[in-house]
């Protein structure tokens, strides 16, 4: 089950959060632990599963179309492993509500879009 649209049209606005590889790995670990804990609301489970999907999709997007993110990295001076992870408001809210979310990730996701 997924909250992702299946009609080929994005039904929601996804906002990019530029995260380095370590941050993305930590985010995936935190989400998996939360899902394994079984205390997330069923709707939140769907959003968190979509976050895990997006972490993979972000890497796939960069493999197919590396130019646009590379341009941003060059302009900002960010490292080569920084990628845009695109999240909906509901996915972001589900992440920020996790009690186990480390402060640095919370700051990266909630306090702006810069790494």
């Amino acid at each position: 089950m997924s909250a992702l649209p299946s009609d080929g049209h994005s039904a929601q606005i996804l906002v990019p959060h530029w995260l380095a590889e370590d941050d993305r790995a930590l985010l995936a670990t935190v989400v998996r632990q939360a899902l394994a804990g079984g205390e997330v609301h069923p709707v939140g489970v769907i959003h968190l599963e979509d976050v895990l999907t997006e972490l993979h999709v972000a890497a796939a997007r960069d493999a197919v179309w590396p130019t646009s993110a590379a341009r941003v990295r060059k302009a900002t001076g960010w490292d080569d492993d920084v990628l845009p992870v695109r999240l909906s408001a509901a996915e972001l809210a589900s992440l920020l509500s996790l009690t186990g979310l480390p402060e640095e990730l919370s700051a990266l996701l909630g306090g702006g879009t810069t790494p």
């Binding site: 997924s2 992702l4 649209p5 299946s6 009609d7 080929g8 049209h9 994005s10 996804l14 895990l52 999907t53 997006e54 972490l55 993979h56 999709v57 890497a59 796939a60 997007r61 493999a63 197919v64 179309w65 130019t67 646009s68 695109r86």
Partner: protein, 253 residues
């Protein structure tokens, strides 16, 4: 950007403020290099013409290319070719490798791939390409070509495309197909999408409703429809996304 001269040879500064490639320098390099690129079918000559300067002539079966040496030097200058003997030789060899594909080469070595059909990059279609080293050059049938011959060449190219070895990488729920040396060949697998589904399944991913996201000259991404929409819908880059059963009905370029 003109890629016929091997785009990697030119630095950004050289492209922005190109140093002129001299006709005499090009002539000197061509005299030494062209004979070594000739084959039993490919003839490369420099023909001296009174008043109009020298002309480079490439002849291979039914295909002929004629270009004034001065025009070729001008094009190399615009493409930012390094104005050294090595730079010019590399660019000239690349230019020869980009020569038109003959009917015989297309018939015996053609591979079916998907390429853009329009300048705006909104639609894709099948086309036959022939690999020359790290380059894949498209074949364009001559206007007078027999339709049955063209169909046979395309059918053989489709059969050959299914045998092109590609790299398959799973990025979570997304399967990425790429060719290690010639990017445009990544779409060759799309001639046999059911075989792709089987190979993807062997990696542990089940994708019966596979949607393919195609950007010619880039890796091909395959995923379930919702995930493919998320992948392609959030990119500003041109791509065509379609369910695998529609691949066979795409037109030929």
């Amino acid at each position: 950007m003109d890629t016929r001269f091997g785009g990697s040879s030119a630095g950004l500064l050289q492209r922005l403020r190109p140093t002129r490639i001299g006709v005499a320098d090009l002539r000197e390099v061509a005299d030494g290099l062209l004979p070594s690129l000739a084959t039993t079918r490919l003839r490369l000559d420099i023909v001296q013409r009174t008043g109009t300067g020298s002309v480079v002539v490439l002849e291979e079966d039914e295909r002929t290319v004629r270009v004034h040496l001065s025009d070729l030097a001008e094009q190399m200058t615009s493409a930012g070719v390094r104005p050294t003997a090595d730079g010019i030789a590399e660019a000239l060899a690349s230019w020869v490798a980009h020569r038109p594909v003959t009917d015989a080469a297309a018939r015996t070595a053609g591979i079916a791939v998907l390429d853009w059909r329009d300048a705006a990059h909104t639609t894709v279609g099948w086309r036959v390409v022939v690999r020359r080293g790290h380059v894949a050059v498209p074949w364009t049938p001559v206007r007078t070509a027999d339709g049955r011959d063209v169909a046979r060449t395309r059918a053989a190219a489709s059969a050959r495309a299914g045998d092109v070895p590609l790299d398959l990488r799973a990025e979570g729920p997304v399967a990425l197909w790429s060719h290690p040396a010639v990017p445009v060949l990544a779409t060759s697998a799309l001639v046999a999408p059911e075989r792709m589904i089987d190979r993807i399944r062997a990696t542990g991913l089940s994708m019966p409703d596979m949607q393919v996201v195609i950007t010619p000259h880039r890796p091909v991404a395959c995923a379930d429809p919702g995930i493919a929409a998320r992948l392609a819908g959030e990119s500003t880059e041109a791509s065509v996304s379609l369910p695998w059963p529609r691949l066979a009905a795409l037109p030929w370029n």
